[in-house]
């Protein structure tokens, strides 16, 4: 029951590409460790906490101070490794000879519930001493885990689905039940683990938790063969997917990222609490333009997301709305197995009841999504093209007869997104990547023409294959004009097709425009830099949408 076991688990998970293997490894870990350590392991692996106790910079400075290491040398190492916690771990290997103290065999629980949280109670000197002491008494194999937890960078290729599967196998209970138990705030404790692996299913305990979300898949050609009448069409809003739950008078607002966000949206909680019925609604939270009755840009919603207890003026400045598109439970009756078209009828029925019978006006903050009724598939395509006009991302297409199962279930819901906008741009800067991409130049900046000048308009780092990344990295090293720290300015020679979702005016950028989700969709080796687009082309694109 020690940190050692967890370190071994990390190494095993980290060095396996097979789902089957990972599930076995997890199952064995859960079998051979304490409930309390198991609950912490789940907590860490599912990324429920990425709390940063100290920064990577602090860690590096501390190491430099203690062991008289020049900071520039640590920074040089960082460029190769791409992760502060790992750099310090590797450098500590060099220090292991000086270790004389007895090695500690601390448990995962002790480390996470006591040792590390206690650090914040100490003054700087005591804190530094404590960390140094940990470095010198922890077995070498545990350094990486320790440093990663300290800096809040613990991550490993394990999805919540994988944890769900391994627990489900461990106790032989349906994955859906486990997935339900894992939803929301998982507080590490003996009880929470015991609840998770409890072989008796107790519905009462699951009361405040959301249902696993049903997700839409990317559109498939085969659906066009079906009659248009088999499907329900909705706009695809660009907000936060949420479940709004009222059970036994208690109200909870859950994001798809399994966060309880009641505190961030008090006005919604306040209004909806007046409804007499109990319910579970699935929908989208947006900042709404009430005058024009359209969604505001996602960037405005971002101003609300991470803010707890927003002031009245913030609430007025960024007014929110919850748009429900599904009803999953009504007055204690789980209706997920009811067909979508019938759930829709229920949703409409209750919505009009609530609107009429509630004293305060809930329509200021809550509505149900409008349906779209295309005549045929070409008509659906026209609707999709129009989606930018009302600030949506395209269409959601749902099989009318579908039941509400969990996950990205194939063949029931699809997203039919509007085509991205594209511009051909010139690569002008590159920066070293971090993490998995350390040691390679993988962060790129692209420019468009303005008169005879290239003006930076977007940065992107995704979209190239590993082979292309390596090839481009080589080219970058040979075609550097200047280095500024980790950034290189490059000979303008390479043209890339950049796709993005939105374009808008921005005073903060020299180019005067900002794009959302820029990504590389093609390396246009066939194009010379003179063939690249100009800022004027970008403005045209913007006009077309407005």
């Amino acid at each position: 029951m020690s940190l050692k076991n967890f370190s071994e688990l990390f190494v095993d998970l980290d060095s396996s590409n097979s789902t089957h293997n990972k599930i076995e490894v997890l199952k064995n870990y859960f079998l051979s460790n304490d409930p309390i350590d198991n609950s912490w392991a789940i907590y860490l692996l599912t990324g429920k906490s990425n709390r940063r106790f100290i920064s990577g910079r602090y860690l590096k400075n501390l190491f430099s101070q203690i062991y008289k290491y020049p900071e520039w040398l640590i920074d040089t190492c960082y460029l190769k490794v791409g992760d502060s916690a790992e750099v310090i771990t590797l450098l500590l290997k060099n220090k292991s000879t000086s270790r004389k103290k007895k090695l500690s065999n601390i448990s995962l629980n002790e480390l996470l519930s006591k040792t590390i949280p206690d650090l914040s109670k100490l003054n700087e000197e005591e804190k530094n001493f404590k960390i140094k002491n940990m470095w010198e008494t922890l077995p070498e194999d545990n350094h990486l885990i320790f440093n990663k937890i300290l800096t809040g960078t613990f991550r490993v290729g394990v999805s919540i689905g994988l944890i769900t599967k391994s627990i489900s196998k461990l106790i032989n209970i349906d994955e859906e039940i486990i997935s339900h138990r894992l939803m929301g705030n998982f507080e590490p404790s003996i009880d929470s683990y015991k609840f998770l692996v409890n072989k008796n299913i107790n519905l009462q305990e699951l009361n405040s938790k959301p249902f696993p979300f049903l997700l839409a898949n990317t559109i498939e050609d085969k659906i066009f063969k079906h009659s248009i009448n088999d499907f329900q069409f909705e706009w695809k809003y660009d907000g936060i997917r949420m479940q709004l739950i009222k059970r036994s008078g208690n109200f909870s607002l859950w994001t798809r990222g399994q966060e309880l966000v009641n505190e961030s949206f008090p006005e919604l909680v306040e209004k909806m609490s007046h409804i007499k019925d109990d319910f579970v609604l699935d929908g989208e939270l947006l900042v709404w333009n009430f005058k024009e009755q359209i969604a505001c840009d996602f960037s405005l919603l971002q101003k609300r997301i991470n803010r707890k207890s927003p002031t009245r003026s913030i609430q007025i400045k960024y007014p929110i709305i919850f748009i429900a598109y599904d009803i999953l439970e009504i007055n204690g009756r789980d209706i997920r197995e009811v067909k979508l078209e019938n759930r829709r009828i229920e949703l409409e029925k209750y919505f009009s009841k609530w609107q009429n019978k509630t004293d305060n006006n809930i329509s200021e903050i809550f509505k149900i999504c409008d349906l779209i009724f295309p005549k045929d598939w070409p008509d659906a395509l026209i609707y999709r093209e129009k989606s930018r006009e009302n600030n949506t991302e395209g269409l959601i297409i749902k099989t009318k007869t579908s039941i509400y199962s969990s996950g990205r279930k194939k063949g029931i819901w699809w997203k039919y997104k509007v085509d991205p906008m594209q511009l051909d741009a010139v690569l002008i800067y590159a920066k070293g990547g971090s993490g998995k991409r350390a040691g390679l130049y993988t962060d790129y900046s692209f420019a468009l023409w303005k008169d005879q000048e290239l003006i930076k308009f977007a940065s992107a780092y995704s979209g190239l294959t590993n082979i292309e990344i390596k090839e481009l990295d080589k080219w970058i090293r040979k075609n550097t004009i200047e280095k500024f720290g980790p950034v290189r300015s490059l000979r303008p020679e390479m043209v890339f097709e950049i796709s993005f979702e939105k374009i808008q005016i921005s005073k903060r950028h020299k180019s005067g425009i900002a794009v959302r989700f820029p990504r590389i969709t093609k390396w246009r080796k066939d194009k010379k830099i003179n063939d690249a687009d100009s800022l004027e082309n970008a403005y045209e694109l913007m006009k077309k949408i407005l």
Binding site: S15, T76, C77, D83, E86, N94
Partner: protein
């Protein structure tokens, strides 16, 4: 201080060159006379009129490229003269036959480290400390993040990796000359007692090592038509060039690993595409390089083969030695 042209050994066209003796060290293009530090292909090029190396290096080279080359050989420590310059080979601990090369001229000593390591390796001679005035050292792993574990520990990790998956065929990728034989030697001393197969290129090198008196565990040369069941739970050594492409389709239910010093970095391990990485290297780590710089008592040091900036700055800040730049 001397100008670059006055150095006994300098960089010319990207290669180490001694003008007084008109001799090149590990040249990358055909020249008249070439000193060869060891038999890896990135240190050898076809078409030189004459090669000079240790006896072992000569034999390994001939195994690899055929008898059609003219090689003169010398024992370790045996001095020979070219244009009045005393030259001698000294063990560098990299692979069998690998050497450092010392030049003495007008009471000035120069030492080319060649590829070297200080770690234990029973398949070749231990690195010999050679005193010098000028040191030209490789610095492939010239950052303090590189600190090698004992090879015994890595071998045990490999053994565990294989035995923990008895249902699988374990493919271990490693350089066919040097690394493969060192791994075989180490793995044969672990708890893993299953079958070991090796690819033709590795098998050939194993035999050469045996001929030169190195005790290498017998392995089975891998045949393409081997029955899949027979390979379950066994270890197969393959050269890294086969890790991509269709060769792996010959096997079923495999796990793969790469044995290389670079595997000590997680990002590189992840990017490499192998399931697992075992950090074991035939090059010196940071401490190894520093130790050699110190014990050689060199007052002037050049670094090549690697990113030398950090090492240079570190030594200049810390010590009174001169770290020089070749300029290519």
């Amino acid at each position: 201080m001397k100008t670059k042209q006055e150095y006994l050994i300098r960089y010319k066209d990207g290669n180490l060159y001694c003008e007084l003796a008109d001799i090149w060290i590990d040249p990358s293009k055909p020249v008249k006379k070439a000193l060869i530090t060891h038999a890896h292909f990135d240190h050898f090029t076809f078409g030189c009129e004459e090669y000079i190396s240790t006896k072992e290096t000569a034999i390994l080279l001939k195994e690899r490229v055929g008898d059609n080359i003219k090689i003169k050989t010398f024992e370790y420590g045996e001095e020979f003269k070219i244009n009045g310059i005393n030259i001698s080979f000294h063990p560098s601990g990299h692979i069998l036959g690998s050497s450092q090369i010392r030049f003495i001229f007008a009471e000035e000593k120069w030492l080319i480290s060649g590829d070297f390591k200080l770690q234990k390796d029973e398949t070749c001679k231990q690195y010999e400390i050679v005193k010098t005035d000028y040191l030209i050292s490789e610095c492939t792993f010239g950052l303090p993040i590189f600190k090698w574990d004992e090879s015994k520990k890595i071998a045990n990790d490999i053994s565990k990796w294989i035995t923990n998956s008895p249902e699988k065929t374990s493919l271990l990728f490693c350089y066919s000359l040097g690394k493969a034989q060192r791994l075989l030697n180490e793995i044969s001393q672990t708890n893993f007692k299953g079958n070991i197969y090796s690819h033709g290129s590795i098998h050939k090198m194993n035999n050469s090592y045996k001929k030169l008196g190195i005790d290498i565990k017998d392995t089975i040369k891998i045949e393409n038509k081997k029955k899949i069941d027979e390979l379950k739970g066994s270890l197969i050594l393959l050269p890294p060039s086969l890790s991509k492409g269709s060769y792996l389709k010959n096997f079923k239910n495999i796990q793969t690993a790469f044995a290389s010093g670079w595997m000590s970095i997680r990002a590189l391990r992840k990017r490499s595409g192998y399931d697992k990485g075992f950090p074991i290297s035939d090059h010196a780590d940071w401490d190894g390089i520093l130790e050699v710089v110190k014990k050689s008592e060199a007052k002037n040091v050049f670094f090549h083969h690697g990113d030398s900036q950090a090492l240079t700055k570190f030594l200049v800040e810390k010590d009174s030695i001169n770290v020089l730049f070749f300029g290519k």
